[in-house]
């Protein structure tokens, strides 16, 4: 028997057997879609279907409800503020952790990344237990009329806590990778530490800051667990969009809930799209 190439006989239907070097993707891909369908794709479609059930008019009417308007505006405002503040704090933290050597560096490094692992509800309770009326600091501040909980400020605090690691973890690796000679070159040229940071280091972090900001924004928009505790769910005062959706759903106003949910989902897609574009391009 000669050792010839496997023949493409008529009986050989399975493409994977005859062309070993190029396996057909159709089977695994179909399997993947079958798994993703009920998990992701169908629920997302359901939101949009329900949102437009009553027609465009009903959709817009649902969005014009003052509570809905407030919730969306408030969420966006908090998200921006969180991204901005955490941008500053996160960059500073990344710089200190990356560029300085001090005892306790490793434990500190681990601690600042902890919020990612803590359930957001626990974050909420911890904040209440610190600042709330019976909290460790709160019971001093409350009689003075300074109560951060159940205010927009409290919501901001919670969002800063929860999203802190995202900024840090996109910037710090960039700083770590930046070779020390990069900044040393600037020093030898005559740039002070501040000038070096501003003209040389910061621009190199641009990409990380942008990605970090997008991630922070997205997480803040969707934050529920800590917000529900810390805000007190006070409509027109501290009710974010996710809280609004939850409240409306519980009350049975599916259409109202869905309208805002659809807007949130759409916003998320837009952010995600930007993230992909940006990181996909590299730099």
């Amino acid at each position: 028997m000669s050792m010839s190439r496997p023949s493409r006989s008529a009986g050989n239907r399975h493409s994977s057997a005859s062309t070993v070097a190029h396996p057909s993707p159709w089977l695994p891909v179909s399997m993947l879609i079958v798994v993703l369908l009920p998990l992701l794709l169908m629920p997302l479609t359901a939101v949009f279907i329900f949102a437009f059930r009553g027609g465009i008019g009903a959709f817009i009417a649902a969005l014009l409800i003052p509570d809905a308007q407030f919730a969306l505006r408030f969420s966006l405002l908090i998200a921006f503020a969180t991204a901005l503040l955490n941008g500053l704090i996160g960059t500073f933290a990344a710089y200190v952790l990356s560029r300085y050597r001090f005892p306790g560096q490793r434990p500190l490094n681990i601690t600042v990344n902890l919020p990612v692992a803590i359930p957001t509800v626990v974050v909420g309770t911890s904040l209440l237990l610190l600042w709330g009326p019976i909290g460790l600091l709160g019971h001093w501040l409350d009689p003075l009329g300074l109560q951060p909980m159940f205010t927009p400020f409290g919501v901001l605090l919670a969002h800063l806590f929860v999203t802190f690691p995202y900024m840090l973890s996109t910037i710090k690796p960039l700083l770590d990778e930046l070779e020390t000679t990069y900044e040393e070159a600037a020093y030898t040229i005559g740039a002070s530490r501040w000038q070096t940071f501003w003209y040389v280091t910061l621009p190199a972090l641009r990409g990380g800051i942008f990605t970090g900001a997008l991630l922070t924004f997205a997480h803040s928009l969707g934050e529920f667990g800590a917000t529900v505790l810390v805000s007190g769910n006070l409509r027109l005062r501290t009710q974010t969009a996710p809280l609004y959706i939850f409240a409306q759903f519980e009350a049975g106003n599916i259409a109202a809930a869905n309208a805002v949910a659809a807007v949130l989902a759409a916003l998320s897609f837009v952010i995600f799209f930007f993230l992909l574009r940006y990181t996909g391009n590299g730099r």
């Binding site: 040393e184 070159a185 020093y187 030898t188 040229i189």
Partner: protein, 623 residues
């Protein structure tokens, strides 16, 4: 003087990565700091730049002490090995950065930038980013950037290390041109010796934190002072021989000592010779008689290198000669010589005559003492060794022999304690196996100037007296050219020396060796001849004694001659030594092989066994 470094020290843990480096670089000079990886050269550069601080020492730039001044204010340009140009800025922006920081107006900045782009050969590439440039182009940008603000000094840290060979050559030429044109004081750090040769006005060789030598490339190549420099800069054949009768002797090869330093050498001293490949002459026929010949050998390696062939020849081993370079592979017994011939010269087969056209004597190596004290139970031996080291300006190595690998650690600890007790700084050589074997190896390799053997005998309270293993000592003494000092008695200084010219043969070596030591010790010498009570003293002996006294006088050593009649020489020697309280007996290694007038009694053995004080055994004359 543009740059002055004054005793710079920088520690890392308890290691000095920069160890008392002092250097002066002249205005407009291109100075290359050459060293292997980890030698500390980059650290020195970074200290000059101010990127790290020295732990001690000063840095002076154009008369201004900048040791405490931050890098921003030192007005220097620095070029890194990894370019480090700013990736988010264009080439033009990179170059202008230094000027922008200095608030130079945009018009002026642009003009200067164009000047520099032209200087480094990057015209038209001003708008490119780093990722659009090749490695060589990026380095040119780095150079332009460093020169933009007209610094006083340019520092380069292995700038071409990350580039491939052709580009490296190109950039070297560019750098040299630019440096000449701008006349800017430049320090370049590299491990590439070719680069150093091509670029440097002067080279500084640095190794393990120490600046070993500084000089022009050709001077360092032809006349290095140390072995390290000789072997680091180009191929070298380095041999160690001994000074004999005013000549440098390498087995059968005898060379005159260099005129200017002939007085630095004393007979018996070790001497090091450097031969560069181009200084070796090969021939098929025997060279003329005045040409120094190393021997006849065969080619064992040849490497084709374009315009020439590098050859390595193996020749028969020269007795008493140690080879430092090229490093002999394990098991190699012959002498290896590296040479170079033009490619078109045909290669002969075996028995090629290898002779020298020229050579260079390196600085005489420091004297070295080897101490072996197996009993290690008295303080006399280490104290005496310390005294010897001081007087002879020598370094001490202590040999520790353990029976097994496991016993090495305890031996090491014990020896360290032993050394600390006597405050004797020494290097420890630990070996497993047989003491005699190791001592013989050390002897034949001619590594040391003096072998000090403690034999555990002393008058210290509580020390156990151990008779010295005489046969072993004899065998070791016979195997090499190093004198052996057997420590006996309790003296820790040797100020009264008895030189024995026992037996009938002249023993010139004994007198010379004993005399040289006496001079260094500041000791007095008695030349003893034991005469036959019946036959008296012959004329020959009298003449010899006179000559010996004259030799010692020439060495400025106070001496007397004593003739003592005795039936056996050893008895006579021991009697005199005992009664007149000498610190050291100097005797030749006259074994039973040497026929003596008194029959076959072994004088040396008797003296070693029964002497009340230390004994110096001087080996037979070299061949």
């Amino acid at each position: 003087m543009s740059i002055v470094l004054d005793q710079l020290i920088r520690w890392y843990g308890n290691q000095a990565i920069v160890d008392q480096v002092s250097l002066e670089v002249a205005d407009g000079e291109l100075f290359v700091l050459l060293g292997a990886s980890g030698s500390g050269k980059s650290t020195v550069l970074r200290l000059i730049a101010g990127l790290i601080q020295p732990d001690a020492g000063r840095i002076v730039l154009h008369g201004r002490d900048v040791t405490a001044v931050p890098p921003q204010q030192r007005n220097m340009g620095f070029v890194f090995q990894n370019y480090s140009i700013f990736r988010h800025m264009t080439v033009a922006q990179n170059i202008e950065f230094g000027l922008k920081i200095r608030r130079v107006p945009p018009g002026e900045r642009a003009r200067r930038r164009d000047e520099l782009l032209d200087l480094v050969g990057l015209v038209g590439l001003g708008n490119r980013y780093a990722h659009q440039l090749s490695g060589g182009q990026q380095q040119r940008v780095a150079l332009a950037r460093a020169l933009a603000y007209e610094p006083k000094v340019l520092l380069l840290d292995e700038p071409f290390g990350a580039l491939d060979v052709k580009i490296r050559a190109q950039l070297r030429r560019t750098l040299k041109e630019i440096q000449r044109r701008l006349q800017i004081t430049t320090i370049l750090v590299t491990h590439d010796q070719e680069e150093a040769f091509e670029l440097a006005d002067r080279i500084g060789v640095i190794e393990r934190g120490k600046l070993l030598e500084v000089g022009a490339p050709e001077t360092l190549y032809a006349y290095p002072r140390t072995v390290f420099t000789a072997t680091f800069l180009g191929t070298a054949t380095v041999l160690v021989g001994r000074v004999d009768n005013g000549y440098a002797r390498f087995g059968s090869l005898q060379l005159p000592l260099p005129l200017d330093s002939a007085t630095d050498y004393e007979d018996g001293d070790r001497v090091q010779i450097l031969v560069r490949p181009e200084q070796v002459a090969l021939s098929v026929t025997e060279p003329k008689s005045h040409v120094p010949v190393i021997g006849r050998g065969t080619i064992v390696e040849h490497v084709f290198a374009g315009d020439r062939r590098r050859l390595r020849l193996r020749l028969p081993h020269l007795p008493g000669v140690r080879q430092i370079a090229p490093a002999a592979p394990f098991g190699e017994e012959g002498l290896l010589v590296d040479t170079v011939v033009p490619t078109d010269v045909p290669l002969a087969g075996d028995a090629i005559w290898v002779s020298l056209r020229a050579w260079h004597m390196l600085k005489p190596p420091p004297r070295r003492l080897l101490l072996y004290d197996p009993a290690a139970n008295t303080s006399v031996t280490p104290l005496l060794t310390r005294w010897l080291a001081e007087k002879l300006d020598a370094t001490v190595t202590v040999l520790g022999i353990a029976a097994t690998n496991e016993a090495l650690d305890p031996v090491a600890t014990m020896l360290q304690r032993y050394l600390d007790a006597a405050d004797l700084p020494a290097e420890l050589h630990l070996r497993v196996g047989d003491a005699e074997q190791h001592l013989t190896i050390e002897q034949t390799e001619s590594l040391y100037d003096l072998l000090v053997l403690g034999c555990g005998e002393s008058t210290d309270a509580g020390a156990t007296a151990q008779p010295p293993d005489v046969r072993m000592i004899e065998r070791i003494a016979r195997s090499g050219m190093t004198p052996i000092l057997l420590v006996k008695g309790s003296r820790t200084q040797l100020l009264r020396i008895l030189i024995c010219t026992a037996g009938g043969e002249p023993g010139k070596n004994d007198v010379r060796t004993g005399g040289r030591l006496a001079r260094r010790f500041g000791a007095t010498v008695t030349i003893l001849h034991v005469s036959n009570p019946v036959r008296g003293v012959s004329l020959l002996v009298k003449t010899h004694l006179e000559q010996a006294a004259a030799t010692l006088r020439a060495l400025d050593v106070a001496n007397t001659v004593q003739i003592y009649p005795s039936t056996t020489p050893s008895e006579g020697i021991l009697h005199v030594a005992g009664t007149d309280d000498y610190d050291l007996i100097v005797i030749g290694n006259h074994g039973p092989i040497m026929p003596t007038l008194f029959g076959s009694s072994d004088v040396t053995r008797q003296v070693i066994t029964h002497a009340p004080c230390s004994v110096l055994i001087v080996p037979d004359d070299a061949l």
